[in-house]
Amino acid sequence: MKSTLIHIVLIIAAILIGGAIAGHMHEEQNKQMPYKSLENTTPIGGFHKFASDIDWMLVIQYMGGLKSVSKENVDEVIKRFEKIVSYDPNFESAYEIGAMSFSVENPEKAVEFLERACNNPQLKNNWKLPFYAGFILTHSGKDDPEKVKKAIGFYEMAIKRSPTPEMYVVNSYLRARAKAMGLNNDKLAMLKILFGEWKKNAGMREIETTSIIPDLNQKILKAAQEARREYPDDKELIEFSKKVMQEVFKDQHICTYCLSIYAPGDKFCSCCGQSVQVFGTCQKCGTVLKAGFCHKCGTKAPAVLVQAPSVQEGMEPPPVAKKVAKPVPAKKAAK
């Protein structure tokens, strides 16, 4: 009787100590691996990844038997994908494929599902997850400005996560921002956003460009050209595009009609055929200049063509070369 009592006391003490140690270890584990807190607490002896793999295979089988994800089966599909990521919160493919599969029937749930993945620090380098979330938001709520604004955050996250963002990600971001502006003219909105991005970095080019949008200047030119083509009579757009061209491409020669860059010596724009202001030719013989002097007649080129591009605001001008006295011919010197 006495020994039984001792055994019972020992068992209780062991359970209590074991529980305390397990609790402490769980806390420590959560500190080391924060994603573990997202995991399912079912006691399966640490075989969570294995369980998620089995569920993944079962989902593949289940999805193979479906014609499409419809109203009838969407809840079951969500439940199955939820179960997989509850066992393994870092299962990227489950998030991507799962969210896309039920995004048409239940876009809100798909965005919520992807948002959970975006907030998982273990998946912080995956740019596709926020992109899909943004994509679902913009396509499920085209007229809802709230959804479009929420999508911008996801697109921005996708661009920042990607070392070389894909063009479609950048364009989706720009389109969403243009839509969120709420202007009637979408092309003008796009141009305004691109010009704003350019202005944010315009004075800092010497240090580092901070824009998240690659090839900004080319994008501005293309957007201005498209806008002019689609809305040739919009006065506000014409004025704004003129201002943009003057500021962004102040060192380049652009056709005022179609906004294409033309080469030195061109009398007509090669894109639209309109006459353009000729530049870069010799004032005497009209030959296209290659350097400081005309290679045909020897006439000195105007200073504008020889000098370096205009000095940036606030920067010191480059040192001006001193005038060197012409060597005096020997005969004259003797006289």
């Binding site: 604004k149 996250m157 605001e313």
Partner: protein, 238 residues
């Protein structure tokens, strides 16, 4: 002991002691005479020492230099700067916290006190001074827009490094929506607000941040303004 024995001992020991001291001093002088004072200075001696001793000597030297600069500082800005430098350098946590506390209590209107605020900002555990989001906002907002920009940026970087939730980071930046800074650099902060607002589905805040961002685009960069001032000062000097 007989008096003869005592006298004999004294007669032997005292001259022996004097001879010992004289020979020792002669030997030491002879040893030092060969040293070139230009080659042997504190730095060369320090180089020869083991790293642990060298570090501790360096630490003491630097600490005393920083203490000297605290004593020599005359203006409140200089005092705040010197105290913060000393507090940053010292490894004694108690001394560090005392110094930063002193800076916050005495020099809360100096921009040089920023390090003290950042030290206590959002600090976990027992605190000497409690600096939360409202206190830091109040401290930053008292300065000119030129000085404010870097402080906002540093505070935001600290929040980010401590993995503070985005909702808190947004809350911290909210006062920026109610001021009109006249520098283009602030667009980066407004962009951050717009990003946080977008992530948290706060549409009104998003719109406001974008409007503020657009307003800031009209103004020059801090770098440009400073460069112009520098050129102007150089011109006046000439």
């Amino acid at each position: 002991m007989s008096s003869k024995l005592i006298a004999g001992t004294v007669i032997v020991l005292v001259p022996a002691f004097i001879v010992y001291m004289t020979s020792e001093s002669l030997l030491r002088e002879a040893a030092i005479a060969g040293i070139n004072p230009e080659q042997v200075n504190s730095e060369t001696i320090l180089k020869e020492l083991p790293s642990q001793i060298r570090d501790s000597i360096n630490y003491s030297v630097m600490l005393s230099q920083f203490k000297d600069s605290v004593a020599n500082a005359s203006t409140p800005a200089e005092k705040a700067n010197a105290l913060c430098t000393l507090a940053d350098y010292t490894t004694d946590i108690k001394e560090k916290e005392d110094l930063f506390e002193k800076v916050i209590k005495k020099y809360s209107t100096q921009k040089e006190s920023a390090n003290a605020y950042f030290y206590f900002f959002n600090k976990q555990g027992p605190k000497v001074v409690k600096i939360g989001i409202p206190e830091l906002q109040k401290y930053i907002l008292q300065f000119s827009f030129l000085d404010q920009f870097s402080l906002w940026g540093l505070a935001l970087a600290q929040l980010k490094s401590e993995n503070i939730p985005e909702s808190k980071q947004l809350e911290f930046l909210i006062p920026l929506l109610y001021i009109e800074p006249n520098f283009r650099d602030y667009t980066a902060l407004y962009e951050k607000i717009a990003y946080f607002a977008s992530r948290q589905s706060k549409s009104a805040l998003y719109d406001k941040a974008r409007k503020c961002e657009e307003k800031c685009l009209k103004y020059p960069f801090i770098e440009t303004v400073l460069m112009k001032e520098l050129i102007k000062t150089k011109g006046q000097e000439k």
